[in-house]
Amino acid sequence: MTQQTSAVSYDKQRQTVTARLKKILLARETGVFVALILMCLFLWQATDAFLTVHNLLNVGRQISLLGIMAIGMTYVLIAREVDLSVGSIYALAGLIAGMLIVAQWNLWLAIVVGLMVGMGAGFANGALSTYGMLPSFITTLGMMSVARGAALVITNGRPVTINETAGADPKALETFYFLGQGYVFEKIPMQLVFFIAVAIIGTILLSRTVFGFRVYAVGGSDKAARVSGIKVFNTKIWTFVIMGFLSALAGILSLAFLPSGQAGRTGVGLELDVIAAAIVGGASLGGGEGTILGTILGVLIIGVLRNGLVLMHVSPFWQEIAIGAVIILAVGIDKWTNVRRRT
């Protein structure tokens, strides 16, 4: 009832500068961005170490794996689903790839197998949550346990270490370590390079392609999407496959960074960080909303906060409390201000 203006301003989309500015200011990302800047300004003043190239690149590396997975989660959340199994898939795929490397498989083949395992688990999640007619909360809760168990079975519960002593080929190891620990231009960590690459591809896929459009449509209303001829189930399954692929990629990179993992510990509880980052960045559990840019900002908020708390020598126990409070605040502020925006 608010928009009965017969204004012809849609013509040519000639929005005035103020209208455009208003749109930018009202965007969900802006709020998160402002919060991030304020946080950075504070840390710059409060600590000496924060605003140094070294520290910032370090933050960049620390958030990369979380960021890669949060981008996948953004797709799943926009499609109005959720994936709780990402931490387990991260562990399973990484450990499988690691064991194959130790077994002197070709490095790339080992990595591809790891990625395929992730995509396979994602496909199973997706198929069960659509054709299987189960809520994704249930299927991925199950998969969380199944994948974790599978990792325990194949490693027999023992830690997997990827080094020459364990039997890996030294040349392959060098390349593998480079993926996780290396730098390009001597300063930029490889993990960050992967994150940036995934972010760029993820942004294009979501905001520029037909597939991305379908993801938004399906999350907005699966009935309306179906009636529009969109294959709802297939679209949802693809988001889970992407999520599985990115979880596996992050898991493999983490093992290349710290070349030892244990099925019972690697990536436990990671799913909550991943979901939190996407949600802080504006993705909604109600589906249909969220952007990759927002998620990246969400990941940065969590990363900078954690870094800042460390630099300020806050105890790790208090760090957890602070991060939890920020998650609630970030979503809360959006909701509370949204009430006014909608009426």
């Binding site: 928009q3 009965q4 459009f213 938004y216 009636v227």
Partner: protein, 505 residues
């Protein structure tokens, strides 16, 4: 009139402003005890805002509410209820998992101590008492709501509303989902309540009914009070003129005379689906507007679902003479069908998406290349339809959820038209849409038919079908029981066929 009786509630110069819109502009009205007072107006006229103020959901910016002679404020719904104001909303607000009795006693559950024991037996007694007050004795109060028909749920809703000491009952489109018989039954109950001294406000789009049921009618337009008239002194046309601010001529009349239609473009042969469709055969010709009438449960819903690949069927479908099988909406779209679903909010609109996204959603191949969306093409397509269908929006990026019902429906229509269909299937195309937008949608459908599109309207609004269609098919129990040409069409014989009492071919 009735100056000697003091009103139950009197609204004086109520104004309410929302960001960007003055929803109510100095509106005054009153409701007398033992009166049914209709409030009519187009969508956006301010009806719901006014009702929400009485319900305590919204606070007026200025103006007074006088309840039984005392000036008062209604800060929240709880106070409203305590004062004796009950609201029956269009969307049913029952807990489907609870029984009739529990739902009827729901408001008492909100007032008593949280740790006191639930007295289920007393609930049942109370529910039976209230229901019998409504003249309903043949219903088990222990049945869960989810097992009831919509009409029965509606009655439970009213029972719940009058279970306390109700003085003012507000009904917001209470019969939009009811059949004629159920509506008659409901009205009888409302009249009975009126005679017991309850004051009622009745909000509806159905003007004929407002005239027959109500004592006085208040017309709102654009948030302003236009007039309050005695129902006996006005006609539907008078009301429409007041609502729209101009006379809408022949709302339900097809303007151009139908040309002769020769080429069959869409034909069903012995279509069957489960227990719902028991052999449907008919042919739709190019340029024809064909209506399908029938009561709820006759199989109309299933018919449109089969035609658009949303439900499996046996039998044969021909499109332009070629036998096709339709398993999914995407196939149906490729075959040149377009579908406008009945439930706009749930299965039509992509509410969180913007207008342009909604318009191109069914037509992605033509606005993309190598899987990439072409923004200029999206804008061009959207603009074309926004202009053609006169969709009123502030910008193409406006969120669908912020549009009025009529504009949403036009956007959904645009989505269907963007696929260049040869057959357009509409299910309840004007449900919950105001008079002005209705007339515009009818005009669009007539233009499409004139261009040679075959239009199939499946609707439960008989005046709409009789006014718009070249031919009307009537369904009863999964079969066609009647066919009426434009000249033969009239409400009574169509209803007789719909109830399975007679057939007419």
């Amino acid at each position: 009139m009735n100056d000697q009786i003091s009103p139950i509630v009197e609204l004086r110069d109520i104004s309410k402003r929302f960001p960007g819109v003055l929803a109510l502009d100095n509106v005054s009205m009153n409701v007398l005890p033992g009166e049914i007072h209709a409030v009519v107006g187009e969508n956006g006229a301010g009806k719901s805002t006014l009702m929400n103020i009485l319900a305590g959901e919204l606070q007026p910016d200025s103006g007074d509410i006088v309840f039984q002679g005392n000036r008062c404020a209604i800060p929240n719904p709880y106070v409203s209820q305590q004062m004796g104001i009950s609201v029956v909303y269009q969307e049913l607000a029952l807990c489907p998992n609870l029984s009739i009795a529990e739902n009827v006693s729901l408001s008492s559950a909100s007032t008593s101590n949280a740790l006191s024991f639930v007295k289920r037996r007393r609930f049942a007694v109370k529910a039976r008492e209230v229901l019998s007050q409504l003249g309903i004795t043949d219903i088990d109060p222990n049945r869960p709501i989810s097992k009831l028909t919509v009409a029965e749920q509606q009655l439970v809703e009213i029972a719940k509303a009058i279970s306390g000491q109700v003085k003012l009952l507000i009904l917001d489109e209470p019969n939009s989902a009811l059949t004629r018989e159920e509506t008659d039954n409901l009205f009888a109950i409302l009249r009975q309540l009126r005679d017991s001294g309850v004051g009622m406000i009745y909000v509806s789009h159905r003007l004929e009914e407002a005239l027959s049921l109500c004592d006085r009618i208040t017309v709102l337009r654009d948030g302003k009070w236009i007039d309050t008239v005695a129902a006996a002194n006005v006609t539907v046309d008078d009301l429409i003129a007041m609502m729209v601010g101009r006379a809408v001529d022949d709302l339900y009349q097809r303007a151009t005379d139908a040309t002769t239609h020769t080429q069959t473009i869409f034909e069903l042969h012995d279509l069957r689906s489960g227990n719902a469709l028991k052999g449907m055969s008919f042919a739709l010709k190019a340029g024809e507007i064909l209506g399908v009438a029938g009561l709820p449960g006759a199989g109309k819903d299933e018919l449109v679902e089969c035609c658009f690949g949303l439900r499996s069927y046996t039998g044969k479908i021909d499109i332009q003479g070629n036998a096709v099988s339709i398993h999914s909406p995407s196939e149906a779209i490729q075959l040149g069908l377009a579908f406008i679903p009945a439930d706009r909010r749930a299965s039509g609109a992509l509410l969180v998406m913007d207008v342009k996204g909604n318009i191109v959603a069914a037509n992605l191949p033509s606005v993309s290349k190598y899987g990439l969306m072409k923004q200029p093409a999206i804008r061009a397509t959207s603009q074309k339809y926004v202009k053609e269908l006169d969709i009123r929006i502030a910008s193409l990026s406006q969120k669908m959820g912020t549009l009025s019902g009529g504009n949403q429906q036009k956007v959904i229509l645009a989505r269907g038209l963007a696929t260049n269909p040869s057959v357009l299937i509409l299910h309840e195309p004007t449900r919950g849409i105001d008079v002005g937008a209705k007339a515009e949608i009818y005009r669009i459908l007539q233009d499409l038919a004139a261009e040679g599109v075959g239009v199939l309207i499946v609707s439960s609004e008989l005046p709409e079908l009789i006014g718009q269609c070249d031919r009307i098919l009537v369904m009863h129990d999964g079969r066609i029981t009647g066919q009426f040409t434009r000249d033969e069409a009239a409400e009574e014989p169509i209803l007789a066929c719909a109830m399975g009492q007679t057939t007419h071919f």
